[in-house]
């Protein structure tokens, strides 16, 4: 997919759905929302990339398995030939232990042929065109590069190094640990913000579904505090989805370094270029606590998004 400067791109569409808890019929919510986008997934292979970080029986830091299962069911109902689930956790190489701890199999059924451990997949060299970081190339999983439709499915969280971790930061998980280690330290050396840009530009997720039903604030992405927010945020432009999520969290997306840069090349950051559907930002706005190092991200109290 070609990189298109933001001023040449059509407006992006982002939908906010109010979802109070994980007991609701999320498959119906997600399916009905996806239908509004008329996505080209019929007879195609879809890869859902959730955020699976670590051992988490209470699902406080990982994308909730019910959201993943509901998205999978929805894409199958839309006619996808195959819906895979894949991630490459960054800190723990026992991916099976992580997916067992969140009980993913209980929601999706057997994972043997459905789940792809992106840490261990065959890799292909990808020359980076954005040159945001010092990395000139990355070795990325062939599954990610080969699917027809890639969906980033993060948890709504603050992050102690990047400010927030949403659908763009979630793409860190496609970088294979078998090449770069646990954690993927070479990306830290290349600069986290710039690496997020390079990886997102190289992988270009087609869609984003953010689990904001219960997010995480403070010292995320692992040691923060659970934060009920009661939303799912979906959209066809991951930058616009992330910008909207920031506004829901009471944060200024233009102050998040990597998002600000992504807004010039990968998608829309400007609220005026985002067609906002479903709930308004103001109606679901739930200010998230951030570490002092990121206090400049906070919106001024009187600034309200509609």
């Amino acid at each position: 997919m070609a990189l298109v400067p933001s001023f040449q791109r059509a407006a992006s569409r982002v939908v906010i759905r109010r979802t109070a808890n994980y007991e609701q019929d999320l498959a119906a919510v997600i399916y009905e929302t996806l239908r509004e986008f008329d996505l080209p997934v019929e007879n195609k292979t879809v890869l859902l990339k959730p955020n699976l970080v670590g051992f988490d029986p209470l699902c406080e830091m990982n994308t909730h398995p019910y959201v993943i299962a509901a998205a999978r069911e929805s894409f199958l109902r839309l006619g996808a030939a195959q819906v895979l689930i894949g991630d490459g956790p960054a800190m723990d190489r026992d991916t099976e232990a992580i997916i067992e701890s969140v009980r993913l199999r209980e929601f999706t059924g057997p994972l043997g042929r459905t789940f792809v451990d992106l840490n261990l997949d065959d890799v292909k060299r990808v020359v980076l065109r954005t040159h945001a970081s010092r990395l000139k190339e990355l070795y990325l999983p062939k599954t990610v590069l080969g699917v027809d439709f890639l969906v980033s499915m993060p948890k709504l969280k603050t992050h102690h190094w990047a400010g927030v971790t949403l659908s763009l930061k979630n793409m860190f998980g496609i970088v294979p640990g078998s090449c770069y280690g646990w954690p993927k330290n070479v990306l830290h050396w290349a600069g986290i913000d710039n690496s997020i840009l390079d990886i997102s530009a190289a992988s270009r997720p087609d869609f984003a579904i953010v689990d904001g039903i219960v997010g995480m604030e403070g010292n995320g992405p692992i040691q923060g505090t659970p934060k009920p927010c009661g939303v799912l945020v979906l959209g066809n432009d991951p930058v616009a989805v992330d910008a909207t999520c920031c506004r829901v969290m009471g944060l200024r997306p233009e102050k998040v370094k990597y998002l600000n840069a992504a807004g010039t090349l990968l998608g829309h950051l400007d609220a005026a270029k985002i067609q906002q559907l479903g709930e308004t930002v103001a109606s679901v706005r739930t200010p998230f606590a951030v570490l002092d190092a990121f206090k400049e991200l906070r919106e001024p109290e009187r600034e309200v998004w509609n």
Binding site: F55, R93, E96, E100, D117, D121, K124, Y139, N185, N219
Partner: protein
């Protein structure tokens, strides 16, 4: 797929050794690629890491001529995969050496025909210093770092996953296991000093209360949670000092957390760590066969290999001393 086509409802009858013989070893044998190596899953391209684990597993259960031939073909793949500078890449697509060099050398040191290759690898490892802990970096960090993120002593230096980055627990452990087992003539000058610094680095990075995670025991003043996999490798790397309080504390943590192993890989490694630490595997602990029934190991060759290695009674595949009573 179920082991040997049997119904896993009767899995309680399966001991891990039967499961290994009837399922894991056949899986490993059948997944060997034409080039002699193994991918992480059947059908994937050969990579150095799963090839090393599969060779160690095959060797540990070597009883027939065919299993010897399987290992020999694997060794041939490893020899061909070595880069000109003595290192091994994580994938054939990659043109740089990485942490898997320690694994390849570990496997090759036992092969008389590959001594030269192993020596070149050991030399590469000893020359690969982490960049974050150089004197210049430490001085600069002291002067300019406004945010104290982690609490660790950067004068202790181990090994990174990729060259010239930062020290982490697992690659440091693999390098230490190799250096402890390598014949003296393979070790370059300065290897002893590197071992010493790396051992101190591991002790320094232990989580409060014992055990290790990837190498961040404290972040922003909050204690990190230990994980089974890095804890086992660190214990194996440090097991020649079994009376050290850090070792005992970490072995205690591992033993206490056997029941929390959620993946077959963690469980197999936990068994290796506990038994190599000189303690008995508790009766009633979960079995690897039960775990297979859940996710089929995600068809992971490394996990199947660890299951094979865990079932070896005296862990003779491990270099160095193993406690007598395991």
């Amino acid at each position: 797929m179920t082991p040997a086509g049997d119904n896993l409802d009767s899995q309680n009858l399966w001991s891990d050794s039967v499961f290994v013989a009837q399922f894991c070893l056949p899986l490993i044998r059948s997944a060997q690629n034409a080039d002699g190596g193994w991918g992480f899953q059947p059908g994937l391209q050969s990579r150095v890491e799963p090839t090393c684990w599969a060779i160690l597993a095959s060797r540990a259960h070597e009883s027939t001529a065919s299993s010897g031939e399987i290992s020999a073909r694997g060794l041939e793949f490893l020899r061909k995969a070595q880069l000109a500078n003595g290192s091994w890449p994580a994938s054939a697509e990659v043109n740089r050496g990485s942490w898997v060099t320690a694994l390849a050398c570990w496997v090759l040191t036992a092969d008389a025909q590959a001594r030269e290759a192993a020596a070149a690898g050991v030399k590469w490892i000893c020359n690969d210093w982490p960049r974050d802990s150089s004197t210049w970096r430490r001085w600069r960090a002291r002067l300019f770092s406004h945010r104290k993120i982690t609490e660790q002593n950067d004068s202790y230096r181990g090994w990174g996953w990729t060259p010239h980055t930062s020290s982490w627990v697992e690659p440091t452990s693999f390098a230490l296991i190799l250096l402890a087992s390598a014949r003296l003539e393979l070790l370059p000058k300065g290897a002893a000093r590197r071992r010493e610094l790396a051992r101190w680095m591991l002790y320094d990075r232990m989580c409060p209360g014992g055990g290790w995670n990837c190498g961040n025991p404290m972040v922003y003043g909050v204690a990190g949670e230990p994980l089974i996999v890095p804890t086992v490798w660190a214990l194996l790397a440090l097991r020649d000092e079994p009376k050290r309080p850090e070792f005992v504390m970490s072995l205690n943590w591992l033993e206490k957390n056997i029941g929390n192993a959620r993946g077959a890989g963690s469980l197999a490694l936990a068994r290796i760590g506990v038994e190599a630490g000189g303690r008995k595997w508790p009766q009633g602990a979960p079995t690897i066969a039960e775990m297979y029934g859940r996710n089929e190991f995600l068809q992971n060759i490394a996990v199947a290999s660890w299951a094979c290695l865990a079932s070896c009674p005296r862990h003779e595949w491990l270099p160095g001393r193993v406690a007598e009573f395991c």
